[in-house]
Amino acid sequence: MLALSITNGLVIGIIYALTALGVSLVVGIMNVINFAHGEFYILAGYFSYLFAHTMGLDPVVAMVLSIAAVFLIGIVVEYTLIRPTYGDDLYSLILTFILSIVMQSTFLLVFGPFPNKPPNWVKGATNVFGLFLYGNQRLAALIAGAAVIALFFAMLKLTWFGRMIRATSQDREMAELNGINTRRLNMLSFGMGCALAAAAGVILSPVFPVTPSAGVPVALTAFVCVVLGGMGSMWGCVAGGLVLGLVENLGAAFVSTGYKHVFMYLILILVLLIRPSGLFGRSET
């Protein structure tokens, strides 16, 4: 039971982390809380389903196309809806909240109420160290999720674009004085935040099929990860996601399966009581 709960905690945690990275990026760069983050996750799941099922594309191609499509949609959303609200955080908050409701209604109208599932990349289950059977698709999700997170951190650390992101999130004015076009960076960051949600969506939708309203808990968990890890800290997101995944699964295994998500909030309260700025957050002072 312990080995299974740790393995499952890592798998779920990696996906939580991936979703939360998108939120953290947008908050860090733009100071915008995107309430529709979960809906971009769902949108990617639907795209992946459409490309793979309806158009018959290879699942990997369908995934890449879905992430690219959500990235572009994210850019359009930033340009048309978010950009006019700069300077007033409340407006962007309300706007993304409305966007979330509109997207949910559109999903219901277009895809119907039933769950949609893109095809599995791999079938069956593996006997892990002779201890338990574990779904191959989940193991593939663990590897894919970890790979996307590694790529994202490599981009942050090793590229000029990553340097611009870090510089802007640390000091926006100084970054502008050094010639960074922060408006364009905002646009690309929002698109990238949506693309990270999309990556989580396409990786996880073969395991958990998407439904019109399934984005709400996704976004909520992502926000909890960000706060738990520390606002603005990318490593904090990863740590937050993994902690949540592990706590949920260990709690379900050894305490009760009926309060899985309660453990998530309990750990959040506990951490914030001890470290109000989160696990990796910097204190205001």
Partner: protein, 395 residues
């Protein structure tokens, strides 16, 4: 010639304007409200309700309507949330002036709605919300033309478990009024039948059931009674296959419709084979001529055979409501309640008759017969009751 043309043009314009601007007289109808989830996690039920409403409205109106007027259904979305359900119910009564209200498929929502029905003194026929307290509260205005938790467990599930000779059962229930209620009744029924059992609670919105399944696997049951509604059931069945719980153990979907949703097979893959579910509908077990008529009308309207039995449940409820108002001779609530109490109407699932003895959940309850069906190579095989069986359990 030009004058004549001008005159004709002016006259055409005047007549046209007159037609457009003529006061629109609303057709006098008898309004009946329906409550159910058209959005949210169980929006599929809303879709099934819409289908049943369409067919029932056509049927009732073809037979002369209600009190000589056409029947009009006003469908209020509850999104599966008790607060929205209660306010939606109240809107139907105060804004739309409906004669009575039907529907609902969430017990938590229905429990909120019955309080409004009782306060506003409006007849309410619950259709697919199974929690016992809905009728056990013995409210005069509340009826149920559909399954109750105790009815389904005592008449069908527990008897089926004994019939198949299962020795060990595991009960998995979502943490809702329906799930917790039916789990408690199942535990008592299994205990009385001498079947060894264990149980656990899972979160209604949980997608990941690996931990639950690990605990179930440790118990090594013959049968798993899964009281999980919606997409969660798909996750459960698929994951039960992944961890190797099935096919050694048989999984029974204790609600039914999710095993019949169009994407069931896409979501669960081969793990769906040999899964069992509760249902009140099977094309080979049609209890009345109206059931056959319903299936034919459904195929004609929607181009395929009906799957989600909840479309037929709301259909029956509308027929029961129309019959009651017609017999009452008015939309007066007291007269309609009296008429409902003396209902003896042949609908698709048998003859609808409401219990009138107070003191338990049987009051104002009509329990239609339920079936246990198993998927065998994507074919529905009726296992229980024996008199309706079309095959035997496969493991």
């Amino acid at each position: 010639m030009k004058k004549r043309l001008f005159f004709l043009s002016v006259m055409t314009a005047v007549v046209g304007m007159a037609l457009v601007c003529a006061p629109v007289y609303a057709v006098d109808t008898v309004k009946i409200g329906v409550v159910g989830p058209r959005t949210g996690d169980a929006a599929a039920t809303g879709k099934a309700f819409e289908e049943g409403i369409q067919l029932a409205t056509a049927y009732v109106n073809a037979k002369g309507g209600i009190l000589g007027k056409p029947l009009e259904i006003v469908f209020e979305d509850t999104a599966g949330a008790p607060d929205k359900a209660a306010s939606g119910f109240e809107r139907l009564v105060t804004r739309d002036k409906v004669a009575m209200v039907l529907g609902e498929s969430h017990s938590s929502s229905a429990l909120a709605e019955i309080e409004v029905a009782n306060r506003l003194k409006v007849p309410f026929v619950v259709v697919e919300a199974w929690a016992d307290p809905i009728t056990a509260k013995n409210y005069r205005y509340v009826f149920r033309a559909g399954p109750s938790n105790s009815g389904v467990v005592k008449d069908t599930i527990a008897k089926w478990v004994v019939h198949e000779g299962f020795k060990k059962a595991y009960i998995v229930a979502e943490n809702t009024d329906w799930g917790l209620g039916i789990a408690e009744i199942s535990e008592a029924a299994l205990k009385a039948a001498g079947v060894s059992y264990a149980s656990l609670v899972t979160e209604r919105k949980s997608q990941d059931h690996y931990m639950e399944l690990a605990k179930i696997k440790e118990f090594d049951p013959d049968v798993v009674l899964a009281f999980i509604y919606g997409t969660g059931l798909h996750y459960f069945v698929a994951q039960a296959g992944e961890v190797g719980l099935t096919p050694k153990a048989v999984v029974l979907d204790g609600a039914g419709p999710p095993s019949l949703w169009p994407d069931f097979w896409t979501n669960v893959g081969d793990y769906g084979n040999l899964e069992c579910f509760v249902s009140s509908m099977h094309k080979q077990v049609e209890l009345t001529p109206l059931a056959t008529q319903y299936r034919e009308a459904y195929v004609k309207a929607f181009g395929q055979a009906p799957t989600d039995y909840k479309s037929r449940s709301i259909y029956d409820a509308i027929l029961i409501a129309a019959d009651a108002v017609n017999r009452a001779g008015a939309t007066d609530a007291e007269k309609v309640v009296d008429a409902l109490e003396s209902t003896a109407l042949l609908v698709t699932r048998g003859t609808a008759r409401f219990g009138t003895e107070k003191g338990g959940p049987e009051y104002h309850q009509w329990m239609p017969p339920m079936l246990v069906i198993q998927w065998q190579n994507k074919e529905q095989v009726v296992l229980y009751p024996p008199e309706g069986a079309t095959g035997k359990l496969k493991r």
